[in-house]
Amino acid sequence: MSHTLKIENLHVSVEGKAILRGVNLTLNYGETHALMGPNGSGKSTLGLAIAGHPNYEITEGSITLDGVDITEWEADQRARAGIFMAFQRPVAIPGVKTADFLRHAATNVRRPDRKEGEDLIPMREFRKELKSKMEQLKIDPEFARRYVNDGFSGGEMKRSEILTMAMLSPKFSILDETDSGLDADAVRLASASIAEIGKDKMGLLIITHHDKLLEHNPPQYTHVMLGGRIVETGGAELARELHDHGYERIRATYPDADAANQQMIAKEETIAV
């Protein structure tokens, strides 16, 4: 299988303020990319812009999936085309059971032309699949009956996102700090789960500060973001370097991007980037 997600010269603004300033990135199916960078550099913004968040306005550049320009597509169209983002802090949907939500989502993603009101995946079939995926990811079956992300601990949220990814089997997954707020054991479990679900079965863009999440997912490429641009791309060794030594060298090498980054952090109080 061959799929390509291509980001070209992407500029993104939030509430009129420029965050991304010309990002170029090509992901192929089966590849693992790590996206690193200091706080406020625009990593999550890139993910949200790819996922189609309406508040993240693409002012220039394009996103293409297998040659089709999806820059103007709504989030649900993108999801049905095979784009997935595991959120850092997914919102709660009180009163909606996780299983019901996943059944709707999986049906739509597998049958992109499905109209509202048309049949969902048969209940029995869906339950069986969900149960086996939950066993595979060592998730308590009780989880399916809980309301979506409602009252979830940090770890539960992350595992729920990975479960969703498993059920939707996207072509490309962006994982936004799926390690944040987790203890060492939980990170290891998340890393192993991502590898089991995603490795070689999709294109992965793993946004992280640390290399722990990459333990089971060694990246072919590591990108460093600073001031809304990808300033450097390397291999797995770059991720290790950044984890061990921080961003001092990067900041020193790209002073303009660093200055832009400082400016963006100052704005961060009002905008989530």
Partner: protein, 469 residues
């Protein structure tokens, strides 16, 4: 017989699948308007005892004397342009076979026979003004449970009816209670004897079918000591062009240690005034629960009440209102703590969409000496678009120091982040908002019997269709 089965599009462009009507062949139809002659005629047609006729006439005077409520919603009703009584068949059907075909057709569209098959229990259905079909499971009757229409109850159990009728909601309570008292027809009468626990829900369907036909049912439920019952009432009404009025009175008495749950799902057409008075009294250690779902209507004003009369009484009210274009839901609840150690809870959920207006209007009153009483009120409003409106009018009167009363209110617009989250998982905008709304009302829906929960979700879905995008 002509029946229009095709789903038609109402004036607001939304498909209302309940917008079918069966041609009504009334045997007797009073002329329009309300006066002593009409009231006398109604009483005579029913062959009522003199005390009831006098009760009606007195209520008529009260109705004329009472001013219209100056709060709530805008009421513009020409009382002389309404039919107050219509009797669709000359006798009440006892078995399904005896029920006239056109009435059966209406029930079939409403799913009544299915409910009948499923429950094989007490199904009471009100078609226009009178109960035309009812059956009661034998073992209930053997246990001394009375489940009949109120007209029949007056004939068969006159002492019991007379003892309680109008004691909880007197004619003087409000203008519409007075109107109901003057022209009431049909409704359910239930008596559950001491210690009898009815395990399955008793159901009734109500339906307005003739144009300008007011429906004024009168329900009286007496739950004797240690007994329990769950009564379920569902309403759908077809669509008509001129105003219709629905004004019911529901009185419930929960004696010591008894339990009553009264569940209502109402889905009125957009031109109906739904002005209902519902009140229960709960004696020592009794529990009264109102589960009240309001969809549709032009204006609904309804505030189910529980008066906790003796220590240990509990009152719970779960209310949900959905207001769409041209609709005003002024719904809420009343809890009155009259004795020590009484416990009350109100959970109200309202949704406003497409220019609809929903208001929560609630009263919590704690009388002097109702020590150690506890009351908690939670009201959440969800507004789906900027055209819609939600208001909260909480009234709290506390005359006793030693009590605990809590009130939480939240108003939220449908969350942008929630919408994005669901859409990023492949749900369309409409599916995402329907899912959020269904989640919002889940606390109520999960309290409903299964087929009503399914119905409720379907009604919400119909309301939501075409709402976004």
């Amino acid at each position: 017989m002509s029946t229009d089965l095709a789903a038609s599009t109402d004036e607001f462009g939304e498909i209302n699948k309940y917008d079918f009507r069966t041609e009504s062949k009334a045997v007797f139809k009073a002329r329009k308007g309300i006066d002593a002659e009409i009231v006398n005629q109604i009483s005579e047609m029913k062959g009522e005892p003199e005390w009831m006729r006098q009760y009606r006439l007195k209520a008529l005077d009260i109705f004329h004397a009472k001013p219209m409520p100056t709060w709530g919603g805008d009421i513009d009703i020409d009382f002389q342009d309404i039919f107050y009584y219509l009797k669709p068949t000359d006798k009440q059907g006892r078995t399904w076979d005896e029920v006239p075909q056109e009435i059966k057709d209406t029930f079939e569209k409403l799913g009544i026979p299915e409910a009948e098959r499923k429950f094989l229990s007490g199904v009471k259905a009100q078609f226009e003004s009178e109960v035309v079909y009812g059956s009661l499971k034998d073992d209930l009757a053997n246990q001394g449970v009375i489940f009949t229409d109120t007209d029949t109850a007056i004939k068969e159990h006159p002492d019991l009816v007379r003892e309680y009728f109008g004691t909880i909601i007197p004619s003087t309570d409000n203008k519409f209670a007075a109107l109901n008292s003057a022209v009431w027809s049909g409704g359910s009468f239930i008596y559950v004897p001491k210690g009898v626990k009815i395990e399955f829900p008793l159901q009734a369907y109500f339906r307005i079918n003739a144009e300008n036909m007011g429906q004024f049912e009168r329900t009286l439920i007496i739950v004797d000591e240690g007994a329990s019952i769950h009564y379920v009432e569902g309403c759908t009404a077809p669509m008509y062009s001129s105003e219709s009025l629905h004004s019911a009175v529901v009185e419930i008495i929960c004696k010591r240690g008894s339990r009553c749950r009264y569940t209502t799902i109402q889905n009125w057409a957009n031109n109906i005034y739904n002005l209902v008075t519902k009140r229960a009294v709960a004696y020592a250690d009794a529990t009264m629960e109102w589960v009240d779902g309001n969809l549709g209507s032009k204006l609904t004003m309804k505030y189910p009440a529980v008066y906790m009369m003796e220590p240990g009484a509990r009152g719970e009210i779960l209310s949900i209102a959905f207001a769409s274009k041209g609709q005003h839901q002024d719904a809420g609840a009343k809890l009155v703590h009259c004795a020590p150690n009484t416990t009350g809870q109100i959970i109200s959920k309202s949704i406003s969409k497409n220019g609809g207006r929903s208001s929560y209007r609630g009263l919590v009153k704690v009388e002097k000496d109702a020590k150690k009483s506890k009351c908690n009120v939670v009201c959440d409003a969800l507004i789906l678009d900027p055209k819609s409106r939600s208001d909260t009018y909480p009234y709290i009167e506390i005359l006793e120091q030693d009590v605990s009363v809590g009130h939480e209110a939240s108003v939220s617009r449908i969350g942008e982040e929630q919408m994005f989250y669901l859409m990023s998982r492949g749900l369309s905008e409409a599916e995402a908002s329907t899912m959020i709304v269904n989640g919002f009302i889940e606390p109520l829906v999960k309290e409903l019997p299964m087929e009503y929960a399914v119905e409720m979700n379907r009604l919400i879905q119909l309301q939501m269709e075409g709402s976004v995008g």
